[in-house]
Symmetry: C2
Subunit: 343 residues, 2 copies
DNA sequence: TTGTAAGCGTTATCAC
DNA sequence: GTGATAACGCTTACAA
């Protein structure tokens, strides 16, 4: 079958462990031996079996990032930053995508065991982690963009987040202060889970409440399907417009949805912001390159990524866990306008 | 340390192999035994070690997709389709991202060995595969969106592609037939490699040639940086506009670049398509949701994915390799206009 | 400097 | 139905 370390040993006329030593750089071997071994390796196109390796190895200097839906453009900057910072510290990074709901911790445990990880970062998804989860993991764990329930002992994990509720309060309040009263809301209700989106929705409701504007379910679209974010935003916005002729603004709980919503508005022959103001959330590139550029609540993605990796390495060195809440920035790019200026 | 199959065997009072059998569903075990084993598994939170598993296992019913830069939105539809089709056939799918240049085949070999794959799909990247590569792999291999050099024996691999040169000829020719003569070109020159982008560039040049329009290097922007596609398109377009006041159209060799280019145009106070016509390539969602929606050469992503997976399973059943070239569709959405209509 | 041999945790092949 | 036991390919003491 496949060529193994034995074949290399045989061909180069040395012992198995010598081959292993040469390949791993550990221990010493005479230059001549090295030559012979390497020659055999190339001749037979030998590739070491990682399973056999990991089975024995203890320390791997590897950490992992588990991303819930890696295709989310918001995560890309973060991942990139984490990759760089990890390399810089001389560690390897294992990047893994997760789709399955609620299974992320199982996959995390699996990964920790398989790869002998010394730490792990979990990003995306919901807030459904339990104390057991962290205990089972066995290695330091940092949650990024999500956290665990307040009941969970905060010494078991670190977290780097924003205050989703407060930030979307900020977005909604901004529109209200601009004079808007009929404000649509588009968000992704993912099952009954507590997610960043549901928190943002709470912020939307609180902003209405505190400003004395009645909450109107007709202004909310959150029917969850498996469509893409763009398509989702587009369809939800179409619905909202059909149901609410008096709507003057919309807050979308993700920029991709905001883009879809914007397209829906423009395709109806309406203008942004003159007819309807639009604000998104996250701060991804598309919102910036869209025309018109869309206002958004921009998360400090790079800083968050840096903090996450810092927190992880701190934990790996035995330091305490940390829980950072960053502040997001309301970027005004012109897709929202005062109601008095509406035509 | 970690809890192993032995612990489960001990706790549940059965033999190791019985535990293995219960967990794998293979072989038989009495309901009572099953109960006991499962109870122990849950109590100790046992997770089987994949390395040890893969070391022994022969048939895994698993195939893999190696994607060169998984963040490329064009690949996402394809990956999704491949995932579904794979599950449908009762196989597992291993999705893996590759960044390293030219190392994709090494990673592929590694993956094949580690996971005992029975087949692999490679998407993205360049055309640099050799005969040796496929021979070393040891399992059926399908190239998706790229192919190997013509010198490589076509019985060694399957491929599903479009004719990048011809398709971008189509795009450029379309603009020329609309009356454009000063047509900008934005593409990503990735080292000296032969990539879809370089082929598309060839198509651009041939269209000019066959229509008797002189090729002007000033109209080409391909300075390769590590920027994102949007940023890249934006900056390249800024350059082009600065250098060519008489440019009336631009062809971008990827939709993300086209979006960046469009933003650059609009941010200069120019209009699309009245002042400058824009056409992209690939057919991703953002181009559709952009405002104005962008014309593009749309690749039949789903069909291509289906063909790739079909080809792979065919090979796995001992059938011959296949080499399919799909035709892309020129989508006219209004971002290109006849020159006579230019204001 | 090099080789021998004992595991790593699992599965597969047998006997029972 | 179930339980020993021999691999799987490698790393790592330890011995030479």
């Amino acid at each position: 079958m496949s060529v193994t370390i034995k074949d290399i040993a045989k061909l180069s006329g040395v012992g198995i462990s010598t081959v292993s030593r040469v390949l791993n750089g550990s221990g010493f071997a005479s230059p001549v031996t090295k030559q012979k071994v390497m020659a055999a390796v190339h001749e037979l196109n030998y590739i070491p079996n990682n399973n056999a390796r990991n089975l024995k190895r203890t320390q791997t200097k590897t950490i992992a990032v588990l991303v819930k839906s890696i295709t989310n453009p918001f995560f890309q900057k973060m991942i990139h930053t984490i990759e760089q910072k990890t390399m810089l510290r001389g560690y390897c990074l294992e990047l893994r995508n997760v789709n399955s709901n609620g299974q992320e911790m199982l996959i995390a445990q699996q990964e920790v065991m398989d790869k002998n990880l010394c730490g792990i970062i979990l990003m995306g998804g919901g807030f459904e982690y339990t104390e057991e989860d962290f205990k089972h993991l066995g290695v330091p764990c940092v949650l990024l963009t999500v956290s665990a329930d307040d009941k969970v002992n905060k010494d078991l994990y670190s977290s780097v987040i924003i205050d989703d509720e407060a930030e979307n309060f900020k977005a909604t309040d901004y529109l209200i202060k601009l004079g808007h009263k009929r404000i649509g809301c588009i968000y992704n209700a993912y099952g009954q889970l507590k997610t960043p989106n549901t928190l943002r929705f709470e912020g939307y409701k609180r902003a209405l409440l505190e400003n004395g504007i009645p909450f109107d379910p007709l202004l909310v679209s959150s029917f969850n399907t498996s469509q893409s974010g763009y398509e989702f935003g587009f369809n939800m916005m179409k619905n909202l417009m059909m149901r609410n002729k008096d709507m003057t603004a919309v807050v979308a709980m993700a920029d991709i949805m905001a883009v879809g919503a914007a397209k829906a508005i423009l395709s109806e022959g309406l203008r942004i912001p003159e007819d309807i103001s639009v604000i998104g959330f996250d701060g991804i590139e598309v919102a910036e390159y869209y025309s018109p550029a869309l206002d958004t609540i921009s998360q400090p993605a790079e800083q968050m990524a840096v903090s996450a990796i810092d927190a992880l390495f701190a934990m790996m060195q035995g330091e305490k866990t940390s829980h950072i809440v960053y502040e997001a920035v309301l970027l005004k790019r012109g897709s929202c306008i005062g109601l008095t200026n509406h035509s």
